[in-house]
Amino acid sequence: MELIWEGMAQALRLILTGDPEVLGITWLSLQVSGVATGISLLVGIPLGSLIALTRFAGRSFVVSLINTGMGLPPVVVGLFVSIFLWRSGPLGFLELLYTPTAIVIAQFVIAAPIVTGLTLAAVQQIPPQFRLQMLALGASRVQLVWMLLREARLPMLAAVMAGFGGVISEGGASMMVGGNIRGQTRVLTTATVLETGKGNFDLAIALSVLLLVITFLVNWALTWIQQRRRPS
């Protein structure tokens, strides 16, 4: 118990003194997970909407794949992304392993199915009458999709939160493809693993607290956006 208070006190100290190393690690965590979530949105929202609005052979198989992907274990993603990025791997010539870009790639693989799956569910739950009505009012295809996305924006913000929350709190894949290199690819989760390994439990707790606070703040901001125009 004493250890937890020590950790809390140290977390506060680190935040208040603005320790440059901890700030760097925190910033990289935010940057990497933010970019990975951003790209997942760019891919996942159109893809999820497309699958939600079309009917094709093998559709339920694709949906099952996406739903499975929503629960992809980060270490499995880490292993496969590592193999692809290895010097001897198919993408080895890019020399991306042990760079922040490698972490972004792995986190994108983790977040994209989450965003796609939740978008799919969000768009699909809009009653079909809404679509018919829009078409009857003379909406073009683009306008229709736009209106549907507007209609589904609340659950889709949940997709953003789930995607971001999933990747910023993930440590296994970041460790494997990033390598936890000081000053280059060390993020909050991998730094926590390292400090635990070193026996610096108070610092590890401090980093965990920092991670939780940041995740909370981001989710708070998104929730605020989500809830402020809620029709009452």
Partner: protein
Amino acid sequence: MRRSRCRAGALLLLLALAGSPAAAQPSVVILATTTSTQDSGLLDVLVPLFEKRSGYTLKTIAVGTGQALVLGARGEADVVLVHAPELEAKYMAEGKLLNRRLVMYNDFVLAGPAEDPAGVRAVKKAVEAFRLVARSGSRFVSRGDNSGTHTLERRLWKLAGVEPKGAWYIESGQGMGATLVIANDRNGYTLSDRATHLAFQRRLKLAILLEGDRPLVNLYSVLEASPSNGPRVNAAGGKAFASFLVSAEAQAVIKTFGVEKYGRSLFVPVAGIRFLGGGLRPPSEPPPEIAPAGYPRRRRGWALEGRIPSHDQR
């Protein structure tokens, strides 16, 4: 409207990341090493010094010794710093890793519950102690992760003529620190390197029950990846780091590292030792003057058991 703003934000972040040094240049050297060198904090001191001296950027990947050797042999790493002489010999023989040079040593200790149910305090030999642990059915926590420590542990079981199996034998599958914590929790024995035991001492009830036996010498070596391991191996960079580790400057840093925090050094520098035909000769200049009690003394002389390929180096 809001969505487009969100998208613009994502693009901005993407640009910010693209601006940071992402792709590796040939000036990047990848070091695969055992976790103990990183967890002790030694590399945090040595790496910046190397980068300043050589102009290379070094990426340290801390994994178990077994994995570090595989990464080096596959050409995924340019240089390895490891501590499993037997395994190293295998990769040397295959020509995957070259130019093995000794860097430093410290020692392993057998830690266990202070009550010592197996009675290993009474013996001086690690092999006998292992036999006693097995015979009394006392709990033993193994790392089980193919690390350097695990490799030595398996060798000691073999020498003791014991097949470690059964309810008393636990494999943690984790690093040294976590394994010590489990041993502490379960009142078990475990083999640990001294540096990690020191780092965790504050939080553990585990006592050091046996130390100073010759097989417990924990010898760290640096090996360079063969350029033939793959087209992207940075052999020159690997050699530069290996040479740096055995340089007078790095050896001086190793000699005093840890004194400030623990009141004793964690590693004893031993670069320049020649080892010939299976034996390890003591260094011409005795380093252990600042070594903690229990470290092998020069006057006793010490050698690695088992055969090491004869290999000469400057």
